[in-house]
Symmetry: C2
Subunit: 154 residues, 2 copies
Amino acid sequence: MSRDDRAPVAGPSGDAPPNLGILLRAPFQEVVRRISAELAEAGFDDLRPAHTAVFQHIAPDGSRLTDLAERAQITKQSMGYLVDYLEQRGYLERRPDPSDRRAALICLTDRGWAQIHAALAIIHTVESEWTRALGKQRMRQLRELLTELGQITG
Amino acid sequence: MSRDDRAPVAGPSGDAPPNLGILLRAPFQEVVRRISAELAEAGFDDLRPAHTAVFQHIAPDGSRLTDLAERAQITKQSMGYLVDYLEQRGYLERRPDPSDRRAALICLTDRGWAQIHAALAIIHTVESEWTRALGKQRMRQLRELLTELGQITG
DNA sequence: TCCATCTCGTCAGTATCTCTGACTACCAGT
DNA sequence: ACTGGTAGTCAGAGATACTGACGAGATGGA
């Protein structure tokens, strides 16, 4: 269990051709920024970056804390901290797991679902903007190349 | 002054076509992971993710704390915290700025330069691997598309 | 059945990295 | 010299991660 999302990516000030790390970081962070800003505007202003780790990995019919932690690559203690916060604000609820009395099923509430739909809509908007700027053809290429890269890197 | 590197990027478990946020994140984090792991192997095992913000923005002939902070998009107090750490471990040194007695020039030491060269070499290795897997042609396309995207998003 | 062992989640404590606010020392224009 | 702005630090706090230890419940044999 461990994790590392942060981190700029090295290179002294004054590079001529930006390296791939930097090239990838710019659009990635643009997406993150947009989601964060526009979710806040949409009324989800009590969400912080770390909470995305929960929403991204939770199953539609509920997940166990341990599963969430493993998928998000953080400890279950850390995941517990995030889930507590989101439960208090009404995004999630814990239900007893009928098949194991030690466990709880962490489920999205209506508000939780609303947040997910809002976030997906924001991403879709960004993709549309990029498609308009880049052209449909080049956007498809980009998507293909990134998909391949994702397979290469596991 | 603020900053946000972290954060997965939304979407409930069970998406069919991964959105661009996720598509960009995978290779970006692969680069970050590789740099972190291989720098540690190379003897730079006292560096943590946040320190990249310093190395990435420092000018070859030295930078002021305030400049570093602004380029890295964090407060000068936060940058001060990182610089203190790196100075203690011999990656940086503070020299009095001859043109302003309030200021200090933060400069790379030999060890600091060695770290930068090592990090760039690692990125170069990763790029080579990807080029081998993707082909020279497609790698060039990817680089062009990401460069364009970087210009679009500012 | 009973016991050893494993798993689920939590409690407690700590490290890292960020922030805000307040402050000193210094610079620059009037 | 005053006045306002800038460079950097000190102090305190909050968010997000970690490790270690633990209790309750599950589970598979003896």
